[in-house]
Symmetry: C3
């Protein structure tokens, strides 16, 4: 059997209106012609490191083990911010050291982190404005070709981290979370994960029976009275709360745009309590 | 010669602003690492089953025989809507049973249709909100790997169908069609197909000499007096009628946006008659 | 070692909202199933030949030698405009003869140019509105398969050219350029290339010490007093001048959108002088 082509995923905010993402792919194919290059998401909001971090976290684990994930939302390009090569059990990440790997390292202890400094694996002429093309793409392609990450630079142990907002459970059993992401359908994703809810529910003195019928979810002055199992349980246009495909609680609207209905933004509070 | 990699095309409304389409590709590559994955169109208007059906129909036939077309515009995700595996002479389609295959089956009798129920080929944890990633992608990849579609579930004979609008020819020889699609250039595609026009023209008592110089095409209160052979026949900005690349009559404007000039929408009437 | 799959890049203004780019890829894979197809950029502004020419020029050279670049911004489709197959030292270009290769031929003498006329390599039914799918895609795929470009038609020596604006150096040492491209970050790219600046600087009676601290760059009534080495040298939101990744001088704003700050457009003047 033919050996499967190695996979590189691209996450960035370069978009598809210019030739930037295309040029990165060209560089990769020059060095690693058999690479299977996949856009994980190249339309992160410009310079939105948090949004990129969230998308990377939720999508990366669906790729084959051994995939190299190249995440370049990089407003600090050309500054002295580090470039990281971070290895988890299943993947290698290349990213600027600006917190874009925060969800990843929050979820899983890395096997090692290397500060990428060996310019042997960069393009010969490195611009100060486009490290995606001049550093990240060629380094990723060389890793795909078998270069040992340890050749890229020295190991480090501490990296930049975003302040990931955590839901807070009050002594009265009120759980307060917030919107951390709004997708292009207008589904508003909160930081309240299924796992954390299960943890609350399985604790002995559980005050919050989150999936029972006697709770309420408050957002933007509106109340939702249960957690649905599917969009289709609700009427068209009706707001609903549901654990989305990422495992986080989302406020959605059946066949409609919940963000527009609620007029909410990232950071807005979501409160869950017993009635 | 190396065996060509099998082709999977993706049509959906997940867009490119989130990680959804990326995650689907990751799942496919985990199961079928040699797959050649092509975006047929992943920017269908959110939940626009008709638009997705039209795009799928016009583009699918340009792909290699044996391609698996995965079409997931799926507002009913998580409801009890069926999931279909439909085989035509040259292609296999995976799609929710919501009419998105209407143009396909209108054009060609399927060889068989299967209701996909065998969760052996799904991801282990199926969400209720993202069957594209959890069901469609892995099933498509398994088909590429050689799984017999008959293993996916039972054959069925009846599927949901959209109400495809047909042009109407009055006894007086007036042909009334409507706009069924507007592309991103502002070209307005009608439901009047070249074939149906030829059928009219070749009938004995043909009252409508559609490509002759003495007809008029009325749309939004404007008259166009002939059917052009190319955009370039008209002056810049001038409205024109032309059989587009899909075979349907389009109202376009040379180097301009006909939709904006006419201020028309899907469903608006187009009337063709002798002067 | 497996022979690397041949690379085709696509540049066009078909966008990703319809099935047009998808259909082109289907056609390519029917003829050349091992092709590695990369979107160089398929979101050029509709019918913006100049913008397409610029993107093609800046990105094409990052692809592997031997890549076939298919550039179809083609407002004249269906007219008698020629179709070109142009060979440079490292690449083959397929494009309409409308100036889209202007930056390429301005930079490098082509090895040959062929007017593509041999319909043996077209799709059997060529529409008048979508030569990207019916002519460019199949011809490119046949070239990838080894068809000699000379079989496509006759050699020609003269092609259409855009009027590429050149910066002007006055006797007083004032250099006047203009904006030729604005990217999706709002960075405004001028026609003042690093090389031309170096040429000025290395001339004996050099009046313009462009990277010294005593120059000013004027754009839209604002003055910038030096050329930065990186975005990060400036404060957030501050305008800066920098040689971008394409080698041209750009007016940017650290973590902000310079186009919006300046309210400038393509063609607006940029003036560099000694203070």
């Amino acid at each position: 059997m033919t050996k499967p082509p190695p996979v590189i995923t691209l996450l960035n905010d370069f978009g598809l209106l210019d030739g930037y993402t295309g040029a990165m792919k060209g560089v990769i194919l020059q060095i690693s012609p058999l690479a299977q290059i996949v856009d994980l998401c190249v339309n992160v909001n410009p310079q939105d490191v948090f949004g990129g971090a969230y998308i990377l976290y939720t999508a990366h684990k669906y790729f084959p083990k051994g995939s190299v994930h190249v995440a370049v939302v990089d407003p600090g390009v050309g500054s002295n911010r580090k470039i990281l090569c971070l290895k988890t059990k299943d993947y290698i990440f290349l990213a600027p050291d600006n917190g874009i790997l925060s969800f990843i390292v929050d979820d899983e202890e890395p096997e090692f982190i290397i500060e990428v400094t060996n310019d042997k694996y960069f393009l010969p002429n490195v611009s100060n404005t486009f490290h995606g093309r001049d550093i990240f793409a060629p380094v990723a392609a060389h890793i795909l070709n078998g270069v040992n990450p340890e050749e890229l630079g020295n190991k480090i142990s501490k990296i930049e981290s975003l302040n990931l907002p955590r839901p807070v459970l009050s002594p009265e059993g009120v759980l307060t979370g917030e919107i951390i992401y709004i997708d292009s359908f207008g589904n508003t994703v909160t930081n309240i994960h299924h796992k954390s809810v299960e943890r609350v529910r399985s604790s002995a003195n559980n005050n919050v029976a989150l999936t029972s019928g006697d709770i309420s979810i408050e957002i933007a002055g509106k109340k939702i009275l249960r957690i649905s199992e599917s969009y289709a349980e609700s009427n068209s246009g009706e707001l609903l709360a549901i654990f989305g495909s990422s495992g986080y609680l989302e406020i959605a609207a059946n066949r409609e745009n919940a963000k527009n209905i609620l007029n909410v933004n990232k950071g807005d509070k979501v409160v869950i309590k017993n009635n």
